[in-house]
Symmetry: C2
Subunit: 617 residues, 2 copies
């Protein structure tokens, strides 16, 4: 760059600072000083390196930019203004009700792919996008992720560092705005860039240390990153929080606040500018077309051999992958248990291994979904809790991801409580706009696995370890929001509602009770969210009393899902819940189902008690 | 060591292998090959380095041993047998119903401090114990953590590596059983010990590479670890999965299974032995005494200035710390927001900073609680989801930890959805034996903060960002499992139930409605779990209809908690729920409460509708 270009870039940096100060001052809140440290890094990226068509944000040829330090949103929005994507008037709506310029970026803005603001998530999501570009879209898209130094304390950053180094993601660049100050004071390593470089280098990254306020040096660093082959690059930029204003520069205690004297600060920064930049458009080819074909799901004989729902999931997913080229599968080093590995045999090019790193597993699914792919990520149901914060953020990102948790409930037996998912239904039900499915049979599992591919938002499928009877034919249909009434008659005295294993327990109990002259209705509530309100209300009005049975803790699962049908002030049925209330140990599945009081015998006993005590007719 | 000693140790290693093969064969399940790789490492540790009094496991002078690779439980139980702590008969109960020898270790065994089995947790918990020994108990206890190589992919390992390096925890030793094979195949780095050494070294650790089947070399490594000052040590041990049996040694596809020919394997390993070892007892001094004094909680004027509950928490916690020397505070780099930092001013020696690493934050609390301290760990409510798997495991560990989440709900305003805890009540309610508290006033917060210190299990306190009216006097008492009826009369037509901010909204709505001639009962449900069943049942029977209002998603929160009072088959009241059903953006708190339909006006409107439609009397 020549002297003029350098001056212009420095001016652009100042403009981003001024606009960050103005936006936060107008809002009366927001992270001015965190934006000021990142201004030069952002200016050089947008003006000279990012290849992005603001009119066609979905193009797979576009580079992607993720502001992992999402609290520095003012500098991002200021860059959008400089790029002509938003007006100055809109910039001044920052953080106001109804504005799309939220306190932390969300995809309500068309150029934001994923929500950030929970720190440590941008880099692992970026790994997912870099993998997408390299292995799926096969474009020369670059992924740029701007991190804060504080967030390098998050383990998820190192899951991403390991994955990116191992996969040689040279299309991924992490830019770390090392401004030395976290929210409440200095970070662990302050301005010791070497400390961070040693860590990234050990994980197989190319590292560059740079003065984050020297636009020429930043430009050279971006160029070096873009031309580095075989390794991801991290640019460690020494910056000053609140840079450019004496009252704020490198000072503690100013995190997350507008400047006290914003007018004076704007003057000190050289006043309001109106530099416009032309972000360069990508020139690369569009992504490869994806094949579409006829879906031929596996078919299981009704009444035939028992089949574990996890097996049916693996087989259905493989079939789905044959029919739809957009379906990708992500494993957390348990593909042999979840049966996701069936997919890898047929579609190795769309199978991704993340080893035991559930945060990276889910983050990669988010990144791939944000790029238009249909990911299925699976591990044990219990271990999806490891990624809860990523799942929560995925809902804010409004991406369509499919998560599958195997080894649900005490039914897994000998492995003991650490491996038993008994909180998963609760976790997933509380996610905004989520879908929660829990099949009890192989044909049902196959259908629901395929159904998930078309759903918006976060979808969850819960599978089980042991074989279960096949009670539905292969042509039976199952819809999200539906249920199946498996036993029903005019003399039903209670409705027993289960899902997964407890459907079979309920059927066995119904048979025993029928022999005793007590009729019960049995509902298979395979769609836990949304729940089949009509069927539940009919059952309530017909039998008066509902008995829910679930291989899950009593809070937030099937019992609560059933009540979802009755919370609008209409008459509520009597409800009795059977659920896992103890801390299970090891044992045979049937011993543990019994101990938890959710087996056929426990159901029958509960119904008998209700009949005897005349709680039911 | 002389030749005889070496031979004896090698023999002990073989005994641990044989007993692992025997236990898994008897159980018909379990991780034989993962135990066989770790046998020599375990043998040398127990025979020559661990200082532990099996008859006095709580002694702070004891070393601690955490089997982070919990699936290798057979080798741990075999070591217990060799140490005389359990009999061979008990060893053979492995994984059977009712045995304390679960598939993965839990504290049902007195010498197991914390449950393991969710990988990547042992090391961060060990960091908490090492900090306890160094800064709280001030004993020369060593903490030994045995990890698998696969679990080094978990980000939580690197949160721990960073914390331990930064805190110079030279009383912590990680032993990594690098057997090259994960569950479904080879690990990322196979037997490349250097790859791991580079990573740990970059994080400030002393590293030792060793042949994990050479007992002499292992012994030297443990000695070097114990004598290394100023840095934690990691021993990277090259081992073979299934070591000692040709059919299993270094073979894929044998994870988590008993050996096919266990009799032959036992012969090949030299048959059953009965070596007894005497684990050396600790000689160090006992821990320092902890002071106990009179608790003087802060007092707030009823009807005086508004006070944020997070402020009251910080002040109460500080007072509690003055009264009780066992109370410690853990921060995740947001102490200025959660107000935990108030504690640091008065009690810096019992204040621990974990930066932005929520898994390590909670894991350290678990480690400290397991050592008899009373930890309060706090961050934003939203970010506690990051540690969900650790909270789940804490319940299995049966430790008493106090977690505090600030910035709950849409009420935080401008920062936007990434910072809003709207799933936290659901997450915590579904934790086994948890307590969930949600105060609406400063005096109530102070009391509940103090109450938590005496509770078993996982306790959660939800605090809010903005100031709230002080509606209770400083002498009002609040009990876990209680509630407060704030408005009540014979003509009540609906009961409005809130907690936190929505209590104030409910009171305002009640005033408006009273002016319109509609009386409503108002309940402050500050104890979300356990819930005050009696009061709720009385209200239901008095008013027929319950209206819950919560700054939380509709699933798993206060609405569901209220129904917990009615799920034993008794008549269920009509229920209407107001909750956060949309995806919030930024805005002023009052704008967002309105948009979510949980403010006073929304409550009043809902009650009017119920009255008009004659749903209520």
């Amino acid at each position: 760059m020549n002297h003029d270009e350098i001056t212009e870039l420095a001016e652009l940096g100042q403009q981003l600072r001024v606009d960050s100060v103005r936006a936060t001052a107008a809002a009366g809140s927001g992270h001015a000083t965190s934006s000021m440290s990142a201004a030069d890094l952002t200016a050089v990226l947008f003006a000279r390196h990012l290849r992005y068509d603001f009119e066609n944000p979905e193009s797979p040829s576009n580079d992607r930019f993720i502001l992992s330090k999402g609290h520095a949103s003012p500098v991002l929005y200021a860059a959008y203004k400089a790029a002509g994507a938003i007006t100055d008037d809109e910039l001044m709506t920052f953080r106001t009700y109804g504005s799309r310029l939220d306190g932390h970026p969300t995809p309500r803005i068309p150029w934001v792919d994923v929500a950030t603001g929970s720190l440590g998530q941008g880099l692992p999501v970026g790994v997912g996008m870099a993998l997408t570009a390299k292995r799926l879209d096969r474009t020369d898209c670059r992924v740029w992720v701007m991190c804060g130094d504080s967030e390098l304390a998050e383990g998820s950053i190192w899951e991403a560092a390991e994955q990116a180094g191992y996969d040689h993601l040279d299309n991924l660049t992490a830019i770390v705005d090392v401004n030395r100050l976290g929210q409440r004071g200095p970070t662990r390593h302050g301005h010791d860039l070497d400390a961070y470089a040693r860590r990234f280098h050990a994980f197989g990254w190319h590292t560059i240390e740079v003065d984050g306020h020297d636009v020429g040096a930043i430009d050279a660093a971006y160029q070096e990153a873009a031309s580095t082959a075989g390794e991801p690059t991290v640019i460690l930029a020494r910056t000053l929080k609140g840079k450019g204003v004496a009252a704020t520069e490198d000072r503690e205690g100013l995190h997350g606040k507008p400047l006290k004297d914003s007018e004076g600060a704007i003057r000190e920064l050289g006043g309001v500018r109106n530099i416009r930049i032309q972000v360069q458009r990508p020139t690369g080819a569009e992504a490869l077309a994806r094949h579409e074909g006829r879906l031929e799901l596996p078919r299981y004989d009704k009444g035939g051999d028992e089949v574990a729902t996890r097996n049916a999931f693996g087989e259905a997913l493989t079939a789905l992958g044959s029919a739809r080229g957009d379906v990708v599968t992500l494993d957390g080093e348990v593909g042999d248990s979840t049966r996701a590995e069936f997919f890898s045999k047929e579609h190795p090019d769309r199978y991704f291994e993340f080893f035991i790193a559930e945060q990276q597993l889910v983050a990669a699914a988010v990144g791939m979904a944000a790029r238009g792919w249909t990911p299925y990520a699976s591990t044990f149901a219990a271990f999806l809790t490891r990624a809860h914060d990523f799942i929560r953020m995925a809902a804010i990102s409004d991406v369509a991801i499919n998560l599958v948790g195997s080894h649900a409930g005490v039914e897994i037996g000998e492995d003991g409580p650490s491996q038993m998912g008994v909180e998963d239904l609760s976790m997933f039900r509380a996610i905004h706009k989520s879908t929660v499915l829990y099949p009890c049979d192989a044909n049902q599992t196959a259908r629901l696995t395929a159904e998930m591919a078309g759903l918006p938002g976060v979808s969850y499928l819960r599978t089980s370890r042991s074989g279960m009877p096949v009670i539905y034919g292969p042509d039976e249909e199952f819809h999200v929001g539906g249920s199946k009434v498996l036993r029903s008659g005019d003399a039903d005295r209670v409705t027993v509602i289960g899902a997964g294993q407890t459907v079979h327990e309920a059927l066995a109990a119904a048979d025993v009770l029928a022999g005793e002259g007590v009729d019960v209705r049995v509902i298979d509530l395979y769609s836990v969210k949304p729940v089949d309100r009509r069927t539940l209300r009919e059952a309530a009005s017909a039998t008066g009393c509902l008995l829910t049975v679930e291989d899950h803790h009593e809070e937030g699962g099937i019992g609560d899902a059933v009540l979802d049908a009755f919370h609008d002030g209409r008459p509520t049925p009597r409800l009795v819940r059977l659920a896992v209330r103890m801390m299970p140990g090891s044992g045979k599945p049937e011993e543990l189902l019994r101990a938890a009081g959710i087996d056929a015998e426990s159901i029958a006993a509960a119904v008998r008690l209700l009949v005897e005590e005349a709680v039911v007719r």
